[in-house]
């Protein structure tokens, strides 16, 4: 009897040790939004045709931004990894990325992606380290203002705010109870550095400038964080916002718990998804308004743009197949489909597509914003930690744990050590 049990155990262990069907599919590590825009309903699944052609499946493993970087880079640093494609953010384009991911120029030379010149040159160069390409751009997210026109109308507003000052007033006014359900005027999740900086750009504020100077405690940023504190104290932002994840705020908009939100303009498709949203067709997207103090210099807020690229870990076991999938996902057709799913397309030609412009009313506005927007923080090795520091100090300021100026002074001091 003991012998039987032992053999059963051994068989069970052997079975359990084999990762299920690992040879039949590629594994992608990405942010949830990438999977959403790659496999959405409106445009379709951009990997489907490739899968059918090659007979290989595609497995998406998604994370929030910080965990994604953590996991992906950890996997990429191993001698061998099951991850075949990893989505990398523009802030990660440093030596470290070059060390861990495969240089793509040889692949481009042999089997290039469709019309590389069509991809916005700024995005392509943003994915290069030391002049060599390490990732193919897939998504850019330029922040804009999304608002629920039905909720706004109920509170007497027929048009989106024309200035950020008006925005603040509207956010407070749009905080009310609707059919017993509480609505907040301005939804933001977590106070992550990307969202905070995007918002702060309404004052043309910066955290770390392109030449690596920390300017978090300058008047523009102080004005922005004070505005956040003001709105939070007035109840115009979710009370438990530090416990809400960045991606989960989508649900707030879809269920009408939030009136306005700042975020990648492509999310318009997600908010108006008739399957998920109770307000499909009612959520509009416009460029984020600027502060009246800089209205002369900017027509629309130079919000943050961040972009993502697809990279192949050097330790991947299926590099050829991964490149083939990357080619498929970056084709003009795929880019177009992803745009319909709510992605910010990286190709100029996509913006010229007539049908797209018709279906995505914000497309032109997005191109406007793309012209003036800049990255949230520059790329350097400690970018992630710098982002975390901003989140921590801004949380302290917004929740009233510290005065705004002091929080930003502390932040400047701490971030300077990272940058130096």
């Amino acid at each position: 009897m003991a012998l039987q049990r032992r053999t059963m155990l051994a068989a069970g262990l052997a079975l359990a040790a084999t990762p299920a069907r690992a040879e039949e599919r590629l594994t992608i590590f990405a942010h949830r939004v990438h999977k959403t825009v790659a496999t959405g309903a409106q445009g379709g699944d951009i990997t489907a045709a490739w899968s059918k052609q090659t007979g290989l499946g595609v497995e998406w493993v998604t994370f929030e931004i910080a965990p994604l970087e953590e996991r992906l880079y950890r996997e990429a640093s191993l001698p061998e990894t099951a991850v075949d494609i990893g989505f990398v953010l523009n802030t990660q384009a440093t030596e470290r990325m070059a060390r861990l991911f495969e240089p793509l120029d040889p692949f481009m030379a042999k089997d290039p992606i469709e019309d590389p010149a069509d991809i916005f040159p700024g995005l392509m160069s943003g994915m290069k380290v030391g002049g060599k390409l390490y990732a193919v751009p897939f998504r850019h997210a330029s922040s804009g203002l999304h608002y629920n026109e039905e909720l706004l109308a109920e509170r007497g507003f027929t048009a989106p705010p024309a200035s950020v000052e008006e925005f603040i007033t509207m956010a407070k006014a749009c905080t009310y109870r609707r059919d017993g359900q509480p609505v907040v005027g301005f939804v933001m999740g977590g106070l992550g550095y990307a969202d905070v900086i995007a918002f702060a750009r309404a004052w043309d504020a910066d955290y770390i400038t392109a030449d690596m100077k920390v300017v978090a405690n300058q008047p523009p940023m102080v004005a922005a964080v004070s505005a956040l504190r003001d709105m939070y104290a007035a109840g115009a932002m979710p009370r438990n916002l530090t416990a809400i994840n960045g991606e989960d705020v989508n649900l707030w908009m879809q269920t009408g718990r939030g009136a306005m939100i700042i975020g990648g303009m492509g999310r318009n498709a997600i908010y108006n998804d008739p399957q998920k949203s109770r307000f499909a067709g009612k959520i509009k997207t416009v460029p984020f308004p600027v502060s009246s103090t800089i209205a002369g210099k900017y027509k629309v807020a130079p919000t943050k743009v961040e972009f993502w690229g697809m990279a192949i870990p050097r330790a991947s076991r299926h590099k050829q197949e991964a490149w083939s999938l990357i080619r498929a996902m970056s084709s003009k057709q795929s880019t177009r489909m992803a745009a319909l799913n709510g992605n910010g397309p990286v190709r100029s030609s996509t913006y010229d597509d007539a049908e797209l412009r018709r279906m995505l009313p914000y497309a032109e506005a997005e191109r406007q914003v793309l012209l003036v927007s800049r990255v949230a923080i520059p790329a350097f090795d400690n970018a992630a930690k710098a982002g975390d520091l901003l989140q921590e100090e801004v949380q302290a300021a917004v929740l009233g744990m510290k005065p705004v100026q002091q929080a930003l002074d502390d932040l400047t001091e701490r971030a300077s050590k990272l940058v130096g």
């Binding site: 003991a2 262990l13 359990a16 040790a17 950890r74 061998e80 994840n245 991606e247 649900l251």
Partner: protein, 276 residues
């Protein structure tokens, strides 16, 4: 005197009611709410109860990964329980039957080992596990979970074996039984109780464990608690019903198990705590 006893009885009733509310309240709330539509869950003022299975239907259609998580959990739990009970039984018997100084020292070492916080071990284990191609497999969780109960299990088993006098083993040998036969026919059946106790610990732990699953699995071997945690982040505050349905499905099996096996559990806990 009468008043004193009446007060005592009233006091006990109040105390028991409080205990029931505290222990069972949250569980019953989640289970019952899983059968109510979100509309009702969201409005605490509403006291109607509309029975519906829509949350479970939603769970099946929108969150298939949860069911994959449940089956992963089942596999890992069964494997860990088998391995831990097996290893602990063998070791417990050895510690019970053979008394040597170095044995006592190694038994003490086993106890000390339990003092190390598991999270500390994740740092070195991660690269090792990856190098062995064990990342994100069921086997890695089975091995980890079983290991964390081997010390406790050995102590429990030794306590149980100690209750079986050695003379019985020796009498059987005199009667011509081989070592294996003694173990199989005399000792093992009597020690089955101890093994059940150890198995209960491991089952409850492995089915519910979060930290190791969080760090060592990503996709293939994702267990139910991990999927549940992700769902909490995703739909907490927005789709309570589905979340409650998933929570209910996760907690019912082991809750039933613990209630049915409570006698063994108590025996095991006391043996492990007082003698360990």
């Amino acid at each position: 005197m009468r008043a004193d006893r009446l007060l005592g009885r009233a006091g006990k009733t109040v105390a028991l009611a409080a205990i029931a509310l505290w222990s069972l309240g949250p569980i019953l709330m989640v289970v019952s709410a899983s059968f109510r539509p979100d509309r009702e869950i969201f409005d605490p003022g509403q006291h109607s109860f509309t029975f519906t299975l829509v949350n479970y239907a939603h769970l099946v259609s929108e969150w298939p990964q949860f069911f994959r998580g449940l089956s992963n959990s089942a596999l890992v739990t069964a494997g860990a329980a088998l391995l831990a009970t097996f290893a602990s039984a063998l070791a417990g018997y050895a510690y019970s039957r053979l008394r040597r100084r170095w044995m006592a020292a190694s038994a003490a070492a086993m106890v000390f080992i339990r003092l190390i916080p598991p999270i500390v071990l994740t740092l070195p284990l991660f690269p090792i596990i990856n190098r062995l191609h064990l990342a994100d497999t069921h086997l890695v969780l089975i091995l980890l979970y079983a290991t964390f109960f081997v010390s406790l299990g050995t102590v429990v088993m030794r306590t149980f074996f100690d209750q079986i006098p050695r003379e019985m083993d020796e009498a059987a040998v005199v009667d011509g039984a081989s070592a294996w036969q003694v173990i199989r026919l005399i000792v093992a059946p009597l020690a089955a109780q101890g093994m059940v106790a150890v198995a209960i610990f491991v089952v409850v732990f492995a089915w519910n464990e979060y930290l190791f699953a969080f760090i060592f699995t990503a996709n293939n071997a994702k267990t139910a608690p991990l999927v549940l945690a992700e769902m909490t982040g995703a739909i907490d505050g927005v789709e309570w019903g589905v979340l409650f349905a998933a929570t209910t499905l996760h907690l019912i099996p082991v809750l039933a198990f613990v209630i049915l096996a409570q006698r063994k559990l108590v025996d095991g806990l006391t043996a492990g705590a007082t003698k360990g």
